[in-house]
């Protein structure tokens, strides 16, 4: 690839991401407020279920001492949604750009990258709001924020890998789209977002919530934002290995399948 193409491709990624962001809330009165209203409504619903219906005790942040369920919930939900919404949107992005793929030669993976970038921007905004909330409730979260940078980078890598693989396969089998709807839901509950995994005395649950890919990310996020603790070295190692492997696999699958997109769409 020549330098000129590389520069042009970076520009394409930038403009496609910008398009994703600009067109997302077009024709809606509340616009970007929706990106906050959605998690807020979920906080209300799950807080009601967790605290009122099940009368559960919120997990205690160690060493932060925080004991507020909505904050615990959001530190898990936001990174998880970054992942799951990115994948869902990416699957649709390849499909909805069928006419472009059939008519213009361009690197198709940028359709997926741009979705992850745009969703990443949303994630950052949400995270900023969450940090403000944490500070209001007395958490000393600020010194821990820089740790979110490598964590988000790894999440982006992992998310991109999954999104590339599924978006490519979905071109050939639409089942992937529907299957992902179910898998995303299973993953949501297999990830410690609405419950405290420590209180469940079951080795399978422990294993899945600790070392399942999404579980591992969310635990790291809890460590940093809720507990105010440095995630363990094993945790980091696990996340690096999983992210790089998934990204490599996704890139490989996408690269194999994308030359046939124009024909199959």
């Amino acid at each position: 690839m020549s330098l000129r193409t590389a520069v042009a491709h970076r520009n394409l990624l930038y403009l496609l991401s910008l398009k994703e962001l600009r067109t997302r809330y077009r024709k809606s009165i509340l616009g970007w407020a929706w990106s906050l209203l959605n998690p807020i409504s979920q906080v209300v619903i799950y807080s009601f279920v967790f605290l009122t219906v099940f009368k559960a005790t919120p997990p205690v942040g160690d060493p932060s001492g925080l004991k507020i369920f909505p904050l615990y919930f959001l530190t898990g939900l936001l990174p998880f949604q970054f992942f799951s919404i990115s994948v869902t949107t990416a699957i649709g992005a390849v499909d909805s750009n069928a006419s472009l793929i059939k008519k213009v030669p361009f690197p198709h993976e940028h359709l997926v990258y741009s979705v992850v970038v745009a969703q990443g921007v949303t994630f950052l905004i949400e995270l900023a709001v969450l940090v403000v909330a944490l500070l209001l409730f007395g958490s000393m979260v600020l010194p821990w924020i820089p740790l979110m940078i490598p964590l988000m980078a790894l999440m982006a890598l992992f998310t991109t890998g999954v999104a590339l693989a599924l978006a490519a396969m979905n071109v050939f089998f639409n089942d992937v789209n529907y299957l992902w709807g179910i898998v995303a839901q299973v993953l949501f509950f297999a990830t410690p977002i609405i419950y405290d995994p420590e209180v469940i005395d079951n080795s399978v649950v422990q294993a899945v919530t600790n070392w399942g890919p999404t579980g591992s990310f969310i635990r790291a996020s809890h460590n940093i934002l809720y507990d105010n603790r440095f995630p363990s070295a094993e945790r980091w190692l696990h996340l690096v290995v999983v992210s790089v492997a998934v990204f490599a696999l996704g890139t490989w699958i996408f690269g194999k399948l994308s030359p046939r997109f124009a024909e199959e769409l």
């Binding site: 193409t5 042009a8 403009l15 361009f106 089998f173």
Partner: protein, 407 residues
């Protein structure tokens, strides 16, 4: 001359829609029948080379594999076998505005579309004014493109595409967009391109533009190259073939009206004494009518009409015009109408016959579409209009140079 684009033994086959696997279930259940999958070859062993600075035409009717070839050249489709090599920066204009987003403004879409076509941000910024200028949409550029008319949409898209600054431009039938002024501007741009020594591949079924614009051409038929070489000759051969195919497929239904006392029983078209269904511009054609009457007809007038199929009437001569009217006719006989050196422009034509009374008011017999025939290219090279005036041209003046190398 250096080769810019090499298409080397390219074949492209598609599985037919029924055979395509669209869900995981089908993948499992259909696996066993893979041996009898039917393949459809859209391209079969196509090879050619386009050299730097030339305008290369690809002609062929719908379904001949033109679009597949175009997509293979553009890198959108991968050939099943063979290879395509592109040595220069290429821009393929397959569909204008394919990447436009209706909610974004014209300005945003220019940037996005140009990026999709492979331009860096700085290059786009540098050319932005030129693009807007070319499109003539300066006052609407900050409106969302969903508010544009389809003509405006296409103009903006073309303005972007043409300003991508390609060394090799591949164009698909898009010359036929926009109003006349805009089309001229596009054509001008293409000519400019050529003069700058850039290479153009034009895929079209507009014979006129291939003839006027291209240095060389190939003709695709059923995915194979049916001919190649000089565009003028190729277009003539192609047109003849297309007309012959059309004639095989659909002879016009003839209809008859009139009081019927005398009838035209048979109509023949003769060139050099031989019956034919196609003639060439410049041929001398004899139209022979065989008539039969049940009673004695006084002062009958014969007439023929020649017109473009579904179009203008070219000529409508009658035997009364030249005073060839017998006092009476009874029984059977023939009328021969000799048309010397016919000046028709190539294309499908029809001939109607008529027998009337001397006053031309009473119609004994009228046959609409008595004969369909094709006019093929002959001694003139005109393609537009309905007939040729056999023009000769003379240019004079101190500033007029010798013949152009393009002719």
């Amino acid at each position: 001359m250096a080769s810019v684009l090499t298409v080397d033994h390219v074949s492209k086959s598609f599985r037919t829609q029924a055979e395509r696997v669209n869900s995981l279930k089908e993948l499992v259940t259909k696996r066993r029948r893979n041996s009898d999958v039917e393949e459809f070859f859209a391209l079969r062993d196509v090879s050619f080379e386009v050299t730097e600075g030339e305008a290369f035409g690809v002609i062929g009717h719908n379904g001949s594999g033109k679009s597949t070839l175009l997509k293979c050249m553009a890198g959108i489709l991968q050939p099943t076998s063979g290879s395509v090599a592109v040595q220069k920066r290429m821009s393929a204009l397959l569909e204008l505005g394919a990447g436009f987003h209706p909610e974004l403004t014209g300005r945003d879409n220019v940037f996005l579309n140009a990026a999709i076509l492979g331009m860096a941000r700085r290059e786009i910024a540098a050319r932005f004014d030129e693009i807007v200028d070319f499109s003539g949409l300066a006052e609407f550029i900050d409106e969302p493109v969903k508010t544009y008319s389809s003509g405006m949409y296409v103009r903006l898209a073309f303005a972007v595409a043409i300003n991508v600054d390609p060394e090799l431009l591949i164009i698909d039938e898009i010359l036929a967009v926009g109003d006349v002024t805009f089309q001229q501007r596009c054509m001008q741009k293409f000519v400019e391109f050529r003069e700058q020594g850039r290479t153009i591949v034009l895929v079209t079924h507009d014979m006129g533009s291939v003839r006027n614009f291209c240095d060389r051409a190939i003709w695709l038929e059923h995915g194979e190259i049916a001919g190649r070489g000089d565009p003028t000759d190729l277009v003539d051969t192609y047109t003849e073939k297309m007309l012959a195919d059309a004639a095989d497929g659909q002879a016009m239904q003839s209809t008859r009206r009139g009081s019927g006392e005398i009838r035209v029983e048979e109509v023949e078209l003769l060139v050099d004494g031989q019956p034919t269904t196609h003639v060439r511009t410049g041929d001398t054609v004899v139209v022979r009518l065989h008539f039969a009457s049940d009673e004695t007809i006084e002062n009958p007038v014969f007439a023929i009409t020649i017109g473009r199929l579904g179009g203008a009437i070219v000529t409508f001569p009658s035997s009364r015009d030249t005073g060839e009217v017998p006092a009476t006719i009874s029984g059977s006989g023939t009328v021969e109408v000799r048309l010397a050196d016919i000046a028709l422009i190539p294309g499908p034509h029809v001939l109607h016959t008529e027998v009337t009374g001397f006053g031309r008011q009473h119609v004994f017999d009228h046959i609409q579409n008595a004969v369909s025939f094709d006019v093929l290219a002959g001694d003139v090279r005109e393609t537009a209009g309905i007939m040729t005036m056999r023009p000769t041209w003379a240019l004079s003046g101190p500033g007029v140079s010798g013949p152009s190398p393009l002719v």
